[in-house]
């Protein structure tokens, strides 16, 4: 006894009764929550806001309501200068929707300057963002790693309380 069923050619599928073709819509509504909302509001004002853990004293960016390491409530809010260093970077040749980009994009993890941090901690407040003014070769050759960068903010009227209120990070 074989497996029930049979092979169906694509042409046949078009004529077959009972075939369902559907493209689902996956709309969502997401609440940013208590702490992340403060972060987003900060971006609209051109600020990067973090929050200190009362117990281990680390600074969390984006801020949270509690530290997931210590499970203790978060404490005071900290406004960071926004400057930092490129921790690691990568070149992307496709968009978020998988379309080929005309110009490759450089994305990076930025280690943000923060009070109490030396700059070599394995755990640090950081941000994942685009780099502008950096070439593909500089990334591939590793030259961009460690570069000093700062956020390039969009003009005040164009900010919407989103991570894209920062256009990119640029060298200075």
């Amino acid at each position: 006894m074989g497996i029930p069923g049979r092979y169906v050619k694509e042409e046949e599928l078009k004529r077959m009764a009972g075939v369902i073709e559907y493209k689902p819509t996956a709309k969502y509504a997401y609440s940013a929550g208590q702490a992340l909302s403060v972060f987003l509001k900060g971006l609209r004002e051109g600020k990067i806001v973090g929050r200190t853990c009362n117990s281990c004293r680390r600074i969390m960016v984006p801020p949270r309501e509690f530290c997931e390491y210590c499970h203790s409530p978060a404490g005071e809010w900290v406004e960071l200068p926004g400057t930092g260093r490129v921790e690691t970077a990568s070149v992307s040749y496709i968009s978020a929707r998988r379309a080929k980009l005309r110009e490759p994009e450089v994305v990076a993890i930025i280690r943000l300057d923060a009070p109490g941090y030396r700059g070599d901690e394995p755990d640090f407040p950081g941000i994942f963002h685009r780099l502008c003014g950096v070439t593909e070769e500089e990334v591939k050759g590793g030259k961009v790693f460690g570069a000093r960068v700062r956020p390039r903010w969009r003009p005040e009227g164009e900010r919407r309380g989103s991570i894209t209120d920062i256009e990119c990070f640029e060298r200075w």
Binding site: L13, A17, A26, K27, Y28, A35, L36, S37, L40
Partner: protein
Amino acid sequence: MNKRGSHGEVAHVEGEMEVEKYVYPPGTLGERVAEALLEGKLLGIKCGNDLLVPARPYCPDYGRGELVEVQGPWTVESYTIIYKDMRGERLKEPQVIALLKPEGAQGGLIHYLKAEKVFVGLKARPVFKPREERRGVLSDILYFIPVE
């Protein structure tokens, strides 16, 4: 929609995730059910003394069952009134969605119901689209209407 939280306004983000189109063939048993729908018939599966609706490839207790046409009337087991479509858009007119069970069967179908007066226990029958518009899917049935 934004609400106040412990540190001020709580931000709210709306978006849409990208999902690909899919094509779902009915399968071995589904094909026979689909072809019956083209003929304006609904099939169930006879498992011993039980009739299961909708039809499925196997009976829970008897192995393979026998496909049979479901005879009415259908009884409204439960219903609800909807005011918005799947995308959240307001409907022109509210619609009744009912769970309908054919006489002597286990299970049933969820479908539109058009009736002056809707109540649990109402006897109904399906109204099919014209033959040339049917595609072998459940939406070949436009809605159920009360049996006179």
